[in-house]
């Protein structure tokens, strides 16, 4: 499993992310536990922003 890196947009912690991560996927910060949305992916880094909160029409 190859790991990439990013910085939590909320607590600034450095986070390892699996290479298979997709843009728009929701991940969790291992430090502050907040949910983050992947916004971009390059050779060895990903960018993230705070994930949207669950909305009323979310589901299956």
């Amino acid at each position: 499993m190859i790991l990439m890196h990013t910085q939590c947009s909320i607590c600034d912690a450095r986070i390892n992310v699996e290479e298979s991560v997709e843009v728009a996927e929701i991940i969790s910060c291992t430090e502050c536990k907040n949910k983050l949305e992947v916004t971009g992916k390059s050779a060895d880094t990903v960018t993230v922003k705070e994930a949207p909160k669950v909305e009323e029409d979310w589901g299956e």
């Binding site: 728009a24 996927e25 949207p52 029409d57 979310w58």
Partner: protein, 287 residues
């Protein structure tokens, strides 16, 4: 022969969508991941290379509008707008099931407290379940055990909720054996099923229920296929209760989450979904 091109419409990528992407790639399809939040749905000069779009939006509002756009532009959408419109509203779904003689818990829709009390008497009394007409993952469900609770809940809905919360969907409470069944029907074929085990009366896996494999007997297969046929052609996650009188269909999901089903049964649900999209695309374009 050219490759089938599928647009996967989404608002976030879950484990389910990653399974779908992988399944499409294994089948030699081109799969284009389309975040509908970034799109401009303008019909002027629209062009598309998609043979089909597979709607997987976690947001029902965004997903249904995206499907409406692509379908109106002549692109095959899975699921269709007709199916989405039925499944996104619990009252509509229940009416379709009743009209097609599919066993389902008794229900009623009211707009006010007095009518709610009268309807509950007609349903056989307390407890009843009050659900939002749209919504998922077992959120905002309430088991109402008595009139005091009913009055409080309706007052809160009327005061705090938006207009759609003033449509009060009541369902007769069904005693379950600590589980319900989620069964996946794809293109009219039963593909897989799980039990969702929980000590709580809400048995959604999103609310902590544990998934276990479920073998499908003839009666379960029959009611699942009948329910799917009532809604239309497509991909469904059907929630079924086991009762003394037999199986009853509770709800039908049109952007079904399936990774737990795939995990515990070992059945390639994602592959079956992609195969279905391919067959729909080929059928429509005679590829």
């Amino acid at each position: 022969m050219r490759k089938i091109n599928i647009g996967l419409l989404h608002t976030t990528i879950r484990g389910d969508e990653k399974l779908l992407i992988s399944a499409a790639q294994k089948r030699g399809c081109v799969i284009d991941v389309v975040d509908v939040r970034e799109q401009i749905f303008d019909p002027t000069d629209f062009s598309s290379t998609y043979d089909a779009v597979l709607e997987r939006c976690v947001s029902t509002v965004k997903g249904t509008h995206a499907v409406e756009f692509y379908e109106s532009m002549g692109v095959i959408a899975v699921n269709s707008l007709k199916v989405s419109r039925i499944c996104e509203n619990k009252f509509t779904t229940s009416l379709v099931l009743v009209n097609h003689h599919v066993s389902t818990p008794r229900f009623a829709l009211v707009f006010a407290e007095a009518q709610a009390k009268e309807a509950i008497e007609e349903l056989g009394g307390y407890p009843v379940v009050i659900k939002p007409i749209s919504g998922s993952w077992g959120r905002l469900l309430a088991r109402v055990n008595d009139e005091d609770a009913l009055e409080a809940l309706i007052e809160q809905k009327m005061m705090l909720g938006g207009p759609h919360h003033q449509a009060i969907y009541l369902q007769k409470y069904v005693e379950k054996p600590g589980r319900d069944i989620r069964i996946n029907v794809i293109g009219g074929r039963v593909v897989a099923a799980i039990y969702r085990m929980s000590d709580h009366w809400i048995t959604n896996t999103a609310r902590g229920a544990q998934a276990q494999p479920c073998s499908v007997d003839a009666d379960l297969e029959k009611i699942a296929q009948k329910a799917a046929a009532a809604i239309g052609e497509g991909i469904f996650g059907i929630d079924v209760f086991e009762t003394k009188e037999g199986y009853v269909v509770n709800e039908i999901n049109h952007t079904t989450e399936f990774k737990n089903v795939q995990r515990v049964t070992g059945i390639d649900v994602a592959g079956a979904m992609i195969d279905y999209c391919i067959s729909r695309a080929k059928k429509s374009k005679r590829l």
